[in-house]
């Protein structure tokens, strides 16, 4: 049986959706599952992992692991991989995943592919799919040695929890004693309480058509009702209306939510590069010829200032039932 090692990211003791996607895949394929669990507050996740069929947990619960440090994590994850001897490593293509796993893979001489959007077993071989050239084409990824696959969030289905109660064995991985060259001095907390854009299932994004930073309130109101994250085009980031972390596109974030609502965004190719993988795209734009209208699933031609408040109200009504 194939042994998979999954990096199960969690937030305040709750598994992230991206982790559930990977666990679902491993269950669907009946793999033998080990998990890497990080953080001194991660105990509550253990039984959860057990019910997802995880039989072995490598726990990095020293307080030094509460803050990401590439050197420290590189050494610890290397140790885990040595002990676990997996045939496959799965993790989310999150900012942490993309920072850490290429580094660890280089040390292990494993074959790492990030930003994958599909995963399957084909005659016992793992095959991933990856968008290239800003989503203008797709390719299959073949692995010549142990695969390390970093999956974009919201790509794999989450199954119902199998409730396996596998009472996993726990191996505690101590903090490696290293002469660290990297020190995290300070963390400046963002103001947003919402999910990161790359993980969000629904995104409401605003462009120059929103006409000013104060009008982002209309988007925030809609996002509140939908539990969505608010994004933006580069035009409004460059204008200083919203911070860069909200930018979607070629020089911003690549996102692939279930629902992307583009409000007053024309749909320049650099913007599409970051969001064309979204499952359902809604465009709200006064210009029926805006390029976004060609890419959208649903196009609403009209004045966003009239439409947004009504849309927020309608969702409120519908979602209340």
């Amino acid at each position: 049986m194939s042994k998979v090692l999954i990096f199960t990211e969690h937030q305040n003791g709750t598994l992230k959706r991206s982790a559930l996607e990977l666990l679902s895949f491993a269950n669907k394929e009946s793999l033998q599952i080990s998990a890497i669990l990080v953080g001194s507050h991660s105990h509550s996740v253990i039984s959860e992992l057990g019910s997802w069929g995880v039989t072995q947990i490598y726990q990095l619960n020293d307080t030094s692991f509460d803050q990401y440090n590439p050197e420290l994590f590189d050494a610890a994850f290397f140790e885990v991989a040595q002990q676990a001897t997996p045939n496959l490593i799965l993790a989310s293509s999150s900012s942490l995943g993309k920072d850490l796993f290429p580094r660890v893979s280089a040390r292990l001489n494993f074959a790492c592919a990030s930003d994958c959007t599909h995963l399957e077993f084909n005659n016992g071989q793992i095959k991933a799919t990856k968008p290239l050239y800003s989503g203008k084409c797709l390719a299959d990824v073949q692995f010549e040695t142990t695969p390390v696959v970093l999956m974009r969030a919201n790509q794999l289905p989450v199954m119902e929890k199998p409730n396996k109660n596998s009472s996993p064995q726990i191996t505690s991985i101590p903090a490696p004693s290293l002469d660290l060259k990297t020190v995290v001095k300070n963390i400046v907390k963002g103001t947003s309480q919402r999910l990161d854009l790359t993980e969000a299932n629904i995104i409401v994004a605003g462009g120059r058509g929103v006409k000013g930073p104060e009008n982002f309130k209309l988007l925030n109101d809609l996002a509140d009702v939908l539990g969505a994250t608010v994004g933006a085009s580069r035009a409004v980031v460059d204008a200083g209306w919203v911070p860069h972390e909200m930018q979607v596109g070629q020089t911003g974030k690549t996102v692939a939510p279930t629902l992307y609502i583009a409000v007053g965004i024309s749909g320049a190719i650099q913007h599409l590069a970051g969001m064309s993988g979204s499952k359902v795209i809604v465009a709200i734009n006064s210009d029926p010829n805006a390029p976004i209208m060609q890419k959208a699933t649903y196009g609403v031609v009209g004045d966003l200032f009239e439409i947004l408040p009504k849309l927020t109200e309608e969702f409120k009504q519908v979602l209340a039932h």
Binding site: S105, N109, D115, E144, V184, K185, K310
Partner: protein, 257 residues
């Protein structure tokens, strides 16, 4: 300071991508090639450091078919970089092979203080080569950097992480830093810069000449266009009608709620 900047030539975002008839890759001949946009931030930052610390040397390195990729080195030199090195290699090398070749080249060149790269190349969006190079050279890295301050012997950086949080990280050099938007505004090359770059003799290395062990890595196959999306449904009527219809479609047809 001795600075290396690793850069990549990529298809311009505006360019149309044609897939080869045998699906083994894209038709490179029909593509407009540019410097990877994130690498421009890396080049600019290196040149800025050089301007503030006289005596610094900035060497740009790229890897790929030498006739074509020489252009990106000349662009970087026109912006103010000093030296350029090409590693002549086939079109699509995977990230780990690329990182090994870059690391071997840098090692051969001797001592250095800083390596800069872009946080991702917009062609394969792997964000991998930087951290891999750092691992191979046993140096620290910090990725997705929007602010860099150079102090004695150390680098103070700000990096964007999930949820809009920012980390302030201090690294003892030598170190590798990958740049993102916000770090600076890349300059346009000056005319004298362009003239100088044209005449610059680039150092050429051959991938095989680096005597690297064969890397087992990833291979991209079966290139194809993404599945066609159905035509856009335009929702008409007055605002109230549009909104009701949109929410109904999202719920009942697209099942997106």
């Amino acid at each position: 300071m001795k600075i290396f900047v690793c850069i990549k030539q990529v298809p311009d975002t505006e360019t149309k991508i044609k897939i080869l008839p045998d699906s083994s890759g894209i038709d490179a001949a029909t593509v407009k090639w540019v410097v990877n946009p994130y690498d421009e931030y890396a080049i600019e930052e290196a040149v800025k450091i050089k301007e503030s610390l006289p005596g610094s040397v900035v060497t740009v390195i790229t890897l790929g078919p030498k006739k074509r990729v020489a252009d990106v080195l000349r662009t970087a030199i026109a912006m103010g970089a000093d030296e350029g090195i090409i590693i002549d290699a086939p079109e699509s090398l995977d990230p780990l092979s690329t990182a090994k070749a870059l690391a071997a080249t840098i090692k051969k060149e001797g001592e250095f203080d800083l390596i800069l790269t872009g946080q991702a190349a917009i062609d394969d969006n792997a964000s991998s080569v930087g951290p891999m190079v750092a691992q191979i050279l046993s140096i620290p890295h910090s990725a997705v950097i929007s602010k860099l301050t150079v102090t004695n012997e150390s680098f103070l950086v700000e990096r964007e992480v999930e949820g809009g949080n920012k980390e302030v990280v201090q690294m003892q050099g030598p170190a590798l830093i990958s740049a993102t938007k916000g770090l600076n505004t890349p300059r346009y090359a000056s005319l004298p810069g362009i003239m100088k770059a044209k005449k610059k003799v680039l150092k050429e290395l051959d991938l095989n000449g680096l005597n690297l062990e064969k890397t087992l890595g990833t291979k991209f196959t079966h290139y194809r266009l993404p599945p066609e999306k159905p035509a856009t449904k335009i929702i008409s009527g007055d605002a109230s009608t549009q909104v009701r219809e949109l929410v109904r479609l999202l719920r009942d047809e697209a099942k997106a709620l």
